[in-house]
Symmetry: D3
């Protein structure tokens, strides 16, 4: 039989016979009424998810294998109106099997290396020596993780390198507004605060083997990335001998960047740079939510209700 190889789940059509590598999202070994063992579960890749069932499966895969990559063969069928994959073969994949991460997990549509280089250039362009030292020291210490983690579990930028993409967009906009509002905004403070505002997300979330957010850490819920971020910046700044006023301002920006107490701000913004950071964060996350939510929506119609916006939105022609 002819198998279509490594087709994305979003492109599955009833009747296709497929073969390829997918993430085992859930696995549940079961027994039929007649006493035969079988395996049911879910498979996923970078743009989709599908239920599968493997009748007469007596292999070694169990619920504990969720998160691993598997190689499968099967046919796309219709089960009560929803697509399902009738799997005939399934095994755990080897690293040597040659599957590609970017096929299996969603990844930011940016060049990670170039974007990191641009961010470093912007950090080096910070005129104030104290702020610049903090920015560069933080990049040196946390930059690698920062460049790959998602910005969230699901709301927006929830893909690999999502935080990098989000921060880079914001830094460029900060650079733009720093010259527009030069009279009231200190570019050095604004850029440094913008760069560092979400650094503690590396500790707020736990991540799957494939790099996606699985859930909040205990510390993430009990302390929060604002307080954790401010504390890390304070320690770095103190080590570098940064004056207290500047350290305090950087901490203030991180602690206040959610803008309002009911959105999670530990304090409200009380300087122009903190106020601006809050709005830049809002704009970039909103625009990304629109981008992600309108994908696949027919022009001239509305999306369904977007949870994070609490409304449905329109895709014009």
């Amino acid at each position: 039989m002819d198998y279509i190889r490594d087709i994305r789940i979003g492109d599955f059509k009833t009747g296709m016979t497929v073969e390829g590598f997918y993430i085992l999202k859930e696995a549940s070994p079961r027994t039929t009424n007649a006493g035969k063992p079988y395996l049911a579960g879910k498979l996923g890749d970078r743009n989709g998810m599908i239920d599968f069932v493997n009748w007469d499966y007596a292999g070694a895969i169990t619920a504990a294998d969720a998160g691993h990559v598997v190689k499968i063969r099967g046919e796309v069928t219709d089960y009560r109106g929803s697509p399902q994959l009738s799997v005939t073969r399934i095994r755990k994949a080897q690293n040597s099997d040659g599957w590609k991460v970017e096929d299996l997990v969603p990844t930011a549509p940016i060049d990670r290396v170039k974007t990191m280089a641009e961010i470093r250039r912007l950090a080096e362009s910070v005129a104030d020596e104290d702020y610049r030292k903090v920015a560069l020291a933080m990049l040196d210490e946390y930059g690698e993780t920062f460049s790959v983690i998602p910005a969230a579990k699901s709301v927006h930028h929830s893909f690999v390198s999502g935080l990098l993409m989000h921060t880079a967009d914001m830094l460029r906009a900060a650079d733009y507004f720093a010259s527009v509002y030069a009279g009231v905004v200190d570019r050095s403070l604004l850029l440094t605060g913008t760069l560092l505002h979400d650094f503690a997300k590396t500790r707020e979330f736990s991540f799957s083997e494939m790099g996606l957010v699985t859930e909040y850490t205990v510390e993430g819920k009990m302390i929060g990335h604002l307080v954790m971020g401010a504390e890390t910046v304070r320690r770095t700044a103190e080590k570098l001998g940064v004056p207290e006023e500047k350290t305090m301002l950087l901490c203030h920006m991180i602690l206040s960047h959610h803008g309002e107490p009911e959105f999670g701000a530990a304090v409200i913004p009380r300087c122009a740079e903190a106020e601006l950071l809050y709005h830049l964060d809002l704009i970039d996350s909103r625009m990304e939510i629109y981008r992600e939510s309108l994908e696949g929506v027919e022009p001239g119609t509305f999306s369904g209700k977007i949870f994070a916006l609490d409304k449905d939105i329109y895709k014009h022609e």
Copy 2:
């Protein structure tokens, strides 16, 4: 006696003898207990306001002259701890007297002609012919008033050409973000909506002879500049044969640009351009409030409570 000429009220010091042109903000002819007539009131200029009294005044100035420019002579005195001007001469000024509007009313720190030219260029750069036609027709019809009125009575940009300055800042930012979010934002719609979002302020407010906002018009309170603005744009668009979908989108942007019903939005933003317009408006007004509020605040201290922000803010060093 030596008089200091045309010194600004903000620079008055007790003991100065001054002469010059000021706006008569209030005037109240009164009688002393001993039965002598005198005149009390307030004088203002572009950066200050002061109480005055003219003992033994029997001239023709009455409350109805408020808003006019007067020429005065007097001495700055201290009355119960507050400065007061003891006026010895006062008369209404003539146009031929050679006083300068920009001394007497606050004016945007921009070049009006160049800024209008830049705005027109941005309007001409709109790629979509329908939107461009609306933008240019609106500029042709309302541009002159638009270029001189303040954006508000007091909150921010409340000076002459304040609306022009506010709109120009926002248009440049719209241009910037239109390329950043090109995938989700239509530059033509965004720029046209941004240009036109506050055009109906020309009818929402009434203005003093000197060009400042005095109060809301009846229509301004009963209908509001969002609905008035959408209606004017609709009529212009219909005259120009713009397709209904585009007309509707422009109206939507104007009707929703306050973002939330409790901030005055007639409908909530449901397309990316409207969402972005709302945030650009917020950023530019916030940054201007910071700029105006921090003037004169000592570095390292807080302003008093800013009514429009509902908080006091910090001026760092």
Copy 3:
């Protein structure tokens, strides 16, 4: 076999064999595991809805026929505890088949012709000539649609001629209060505003073939019936040469009739007639919600939670 003819779905009992005309609410042609085609879907009439299945159906009916009237024959069975109709014959109905609209869709319990006549008489009783001309012109132009559409998709008055019933109730109450509060309320303005407050619902919703609301139009969501209604009234009034103050007041009434921004008002009511209109609208919709929600509730018990009221309500004895 004996068939019960044209019995209402609300009266179906397990075991009945029925024949008659119903609305095809949903239709989904499918295939059994054994490869045989069949048809599943939902049927509805003015007071009920039921799942149906037609085994071995190979006819021409598809999902696109939803909304049409069909003639069916079948037996009421029990499927997992819920009633289901096992259909043996199904075909699309002809207009000549003699089915009655009022059996198939819920309709306001009023005489449409008499109610329209009464509304016209009230409009003619408006003393102010300008307001009267607007009222009558609007009735002439939009009265026919106005007299048949529902007032909502589901909350209240969601049946055929629901808007007419709702408006007539409100107009009579407006007439009553206009004399009670004659000192503060202008009857002409109140009656005209009340008549016209929801006229733009004809464009806010799209309607099924049978006249019920299916969903919001794009314009309905992006502009809203308040702004659309005010604009239509303004154009009509301008054509008739109505003075600006009166036109503005009519627009104000329509724009403010939801009372509070969070309930959708574009501006808040600022004249007595607008304030009163808001409350009359609230009373009539609330009373209708009570009426509809208490139908079928046992005296001495509570309804389930009513979504539109956010509470459960009591039916006393």
Copy 4:
């Protein structure tokens, strides 16, 4: 000298010499810097209030006389731009002096006797014998006080017989709606609940000698007129042998007539009659606030901000 006699304070003009009876609102015996005694205070009547001063007064009037009627003679003068009465004679009035209560305190513009008769007729028209008995027994016991007290301290209907006027307006409207919504509303319950909803205001407030509200009683603040009212009705109903269900419904109407917890409702309305009562109360108080607030406002302009409405309102032409 010629004195204008018993002119209302609202009609005072500077320069008038007046004589007549007014209420002493405040009195404060003082001493000039030179050591001479004088009396300062405020006088009021049914439509105004004015500061007064009586130089060289050494009489017996003190702060404790506030609330009494005084006879005065004096001249209307201007003090720092506000009118003031320079009093030359002042003494406490006798009952035999022949002043009229209705000149001195604001009184409802209704015929008290006729209105009470109409209310009794409406109570007698209640079809349900149980509710009717309660209504009549309450009228017998509390009707006299009910017919004279104001409905509030200041918000609306704060004049003598204000509660009577307010309740009568609401009862007529309840009668009107009882027939409109006959299918869902029990007229007997609605009318009885409407009649009794504010009866406990007689105990919620304390009253001045002249019959106006001076402040809340301790019980008024600690228990509230809703709970007090429900309790009184319950006792009356029990004494009359009314069935528990009906007693409970009457109590529910009184306890819920403020509609929302944040407006003071002890429970939320859960039957149609209670819901309607809440809205009728709102309409009548709102319309009266409009009537009182628009008195003296120039047509085509706005009132100042009305505290009870939290907005300014428009008086159209």
Copy 5:
């Protein structure tokens, strides 16, 4: 076959064969497609609930038997991943069968008799004779029911004698704080108000045969336990000749003990004892919610979202 006798449902494991007494929570006699009768439903005990099915059952048990105790025999099986009991025998239990209430319904982990004795001692320790008389009279009249009912349907203390446990905890804390804040708190008022604050819950809820809350009574929803409780206390106090001020204060405590209108308070607390009562109620209910919610949560992890707290909570190690 060997049956495990009277094992708790929370301890059921797939494969067990069990026999014992359980509460029939739901029962639904049905027919298979093949026409055979069977019985499906739910069984419960003090710590669990399980679906059951009895194939080929043709006995007399129907839906109306829900709430009764039954004796069953069956096997714990797995149905689509959830446990199910395959019942082979089922009959209604007799009182003579010897089952124990405390096995079948959850009961407060306290000694009811001792706790009631302690509460009575605290009531007798009230120094003020008036308050003490009310406390003891209320205990005499309502104490028996008070000592057995739950405090709620589900949120907290929803087990037998839950109200007793809740009130005893609060009374002890009231006793503690009465001495700490002796300068501002009257111990007699505080203890009496605390004892009586929830007494009317006996009428607010209806109860199952086993003593658990099934739902609100009509009076419970239409009047509420605050107003009912205040009224009962007032009648008791009046019968005992308690002075009006003290009666009023007791009523105030009961009417205000929910603290805020949006939490159901009929009036807000305005004396120190009422304020304190509100917080003691909150503390004890919160701590009990934590206790109940953290049962079975793994240390170092979070509970699921707790509805009554609107958050998930952490169980530390």
Copy 6:
């Protein structure tokens, strides 16, 4: 002339001639219209404040001396109905003058030394060695300042040693509840968190020479005492080698002790100890507000509106 010595300002009566030590709250050297210098200002002590004026004063006292203690002589007079002190002599006091701090500034009604000893004993009673070490180390390092500062600027406990009194009350209550809720609350965590919850108030406020709060520090407003407190505790705990889980829990308690984001909590409480701490803080501050607000209120009457409670409160008999 006879002078009453060192009488408290709250006991001043018009006509008294007094001599003694008071705090100079404000001082403003001025000039009469006739050109003579004089001094005006305010004097305060532990229970009052009064305006003063010293005619013909040409001494060295200026506005910069505010906060210092002065010795004065003068007469209590009446100025426009308010008391005023006509000062005839005034000089700055020396430490050797023998005035007593407790006369001049309000001080907590507790024995500071004994209370600190009790707090230390409670800290030593903490069973968990890690928490105990942190508690004791913090007491060693910050205890001295902690024992003298007020808890606030004005709301409650705003007197010397106010924070000590507040914390001691809370610690005792924590100890009480730790045994009541032993099943769900860890006494060691609860006591340590309670002790430390407000320690950073030493840095949040700036203090006058006399030890009262004058205003927030910059850090106090930009970072807040919750984040500052958590950070200090973290550093102390890390130095002592406390395990991360315990350090995190202590930080969580401090960060969440305001309970709700709108009350300033950086995160919401998610463990039982943090929840309880929030309520203990609320109870103790509320009871103290009642105590302070009811001082001087007549039994049977209401206080004026208490800003911090947003209501007026009742003092029963």
